[in-house]
């Protein structure tokens, strides 16, 4: 593995680390197995890509991508809490519908190239920029979850009955949790589109598995239950995942090829799930 490949793995790891933090919000914080992410990830990428193509500031495009992800999360939440559709199906339906919406956003074209457009990485070092963004997102998430509001959000994932007795509006909080989670996922999608220089409407397939793999690997490294550790576990787990995949695909002795990516990822998730889960504090 060359230095350039290590750097690329670090960059990709940090982008997907933010996506994993979004998945941490839904799967861990509010205990909602949300499958919207396969759609909201591409939604963020489409929104950011189309805005850049239209000449908008790339940073602004990321913020709008974040907002679009939040809206998709709100809709999943409404499907579940107001229309009483099961959590799994709400996410699947939303991701399914987002495929058409994403195509519409991209004007019917399945992909957009941003190679010649100005992105946030045009004049900045990608590794440093992504490092700073990751740090900012981690601090914001860690702080939010350590507040009275964050405690209420975590309560619905811990024990809905206690949450209700504590006066938490569980339905509203579920919608809010999904909005926060999907906003981070879409933000990650926007970052990836700018980093890669293209948007593909099919690029969201498997986002949930990659995010979960990162989250689970991270939780093995940092088996602590505090939200600060949880956020760090997402980023570090994602970087380890990317380095591992890069190593596996570039190693001659292992003999893996690019088409084996899903197989390796799946085996990693299984491995992470089989290893006993423990919390140290």
């Amino acid at each position: 593995m060359s230095l350039a490949e290590v750097v690329l793995s670090l960059e990709m790891g940090m982008i997907y680390g933010i996506v994993a933090m979004g998945i941490y919000f839904t799967f861990r914080v509010i205990d909602f197995p949300d499958l919207t992410c396969d759609g909201s990830f591409v939604l963020g990428a489409c929104v950011s890509g189309v805005m850049i193509k239209a000449g908008y500031n790339p940073l602004l495009s990321l913020l709008i991508a974040l907002l679009s992800g939040a809206i998709s999360g709100v809709f999943t939440g409404i499907l579940n809490t107001k229309l009483k559709i099961t959590n799994l199906l709400s996410g699947i339906l939303m991701a399914f519908m987002l495929y058409s919406i994403n195509l519409k956003i991209m004007g019917g074209s399945p992909n957009i190239t941003l190679m010649e457009d100005v992105t946030i990485f045009t004049n900045l070092d990608p590794l440093l920029t992504l490092g700073l963004i990751c740090l900012l997102v981690w601090c914001l998430c860690g702080y939010t979850l350590s507040t009275d509001f964050g405690l209420a959000l975590r309560s619905i994932g811990q024990n809905k009955r206690v949450a209700l007795n504590g006066g938490v509006n569980v339905e509203r909080m579920t919608i809010l949790g999904l909005a926060l989670g999907n906003s981070l996922i879409a933000f990650g999608g926007g970052l990836l589109s700018q980093h890669q220089g293209f948007v593909d409407v099919g690029s969201g397939v498997g986002t949930i598995i990659i995010g979960l793999a990162s989250l689970m690997i991270g939780e093995k490294v940092f088996p602590f239950r505090s939200p600060w550790w949880g956020g760090l576990a997402c980023i570090v787990g994602s970087v380890i995942y990317r380095l591992f995949i890069s190593f596996a695909l570039h190693s001659d002795t292992l003999g893996f090829e690019t088409q084996d990516l899903n197989l390796i990822t799946g085996l990693l998730v299984i491995g992470a799930m089989v290893l006993p889960r423990r919390h140290l504090c």
Binding site: T147, Q158, N159, R161, V162, G166
Partner: protein
């Protein structure tokens, strides 16, 4: 103060038959008063709790908390004035959170939850002070996860969580049902002490007749959705658990 006026709850069963669960029920509990609610299974005790907490809307009647009508308000709105302790200690606390986090959550019951960090020295002092009352050594375990506590310790923690906020009404749902006899006595003594100290209007469901006689100010016997009998003062103290059990099962309305 809790006041229930002419509460009626009916359910429609299969075949569209109407079943009366609570029938014109009237009950008032004053601040600092500890009322024991007994009755056979199906008498309407749990339905009454669900109506008071807002989980179930009555078909008729009015509910007042401190003279303010709350009949049509939501469960989350009522939680500001009302706290509940469940039968299963696991249901009353969040086992993967620390004692501190559980108490910080309970402290803001029914209030707006802001973006203020939960770590706070004054809160820590308050929590330590409240846990010291339990005499279980929990004040030194604020940073332990609640899952590491025994059932009795978790139930005692649930009680403390219930009195942390300003809620004036306390609903206790068979809180000793899952505890061993020694721990059950400890929890009952604690409840009695807390209710008197904090001047809560408390209603407790119990199937333990000895507890119903030994603790609290009044026994209310529920039968077929109505209050069939009440015992206070000397009359209450002169009862034996067997008498009370016989009355609860054989009373006719």
């Amino acid at each position: 103060m809790l006041e229930l006026k002419n509460i009626c709850v009916t359910f429609r069963s299969e075949g569209n038959l109407e079943r009366i669960i609570l029938n014109d029920l009237n009950l008032t509990i004053n601040p600092g008063e500890f009322v024991m609610l007994i009755g056979e299974n199906g008498a309407g005790k749990s339905t009454l709790f669900n109506v008071v907490s807002g989980f179930l809307k009555p078909n008729q009647g009015q509910i007042f908390f401190n003279h303010k009508e709350v009949t049509h308000t939501s469960q989350s709105f009522r939680s500001k004035s009302l706290a509940k302790v469940m039968q299963d200690p696991k249901l009353g606390t969040m086992e993967n959170m620390t004692l501190y986090e559980n108490m910080a959550f309970a402290l803001k019951r029914g209030e707006k939850r802001s973006l203020r960090n939960i770590s706070d020295n004054s809160r820590r002092e308050l929590f330590r002070e409240k846990l010291t009352l339990l005499r279980m050594g929990l004040e030194d375990r604020l940073d332990d996860v609640t899952g590491s506590l025994s059932g009795g310790q978790r139930q005692a923690l649930s009680l403390v969580m219930a009195i942390l906020s300003d809620s004036q009404i306390l609903l206790l749902d068979e809180i000793t049902g899952a505890l061993d006899p020694k721990m059950a006595e400890t929890v009952m003594n604690l409840s009695d002490q807390i209710i008197r100290q904090e001047k809560k209007a408390a209603l407790m469901i119990t199937h333990n007749m000895a507890h119903a006689i030994a603790y609290g100010d009044r026994i209310v016997v529920l039968k077929d959705g109505r209050i069939a009998k009440e015992f206070v003062d000397l009359e209450k103290k002169s009862l034996t658990p067997k008498d009370l059990h016989d009355i609860a099962s054989s009373i006719l309305i």
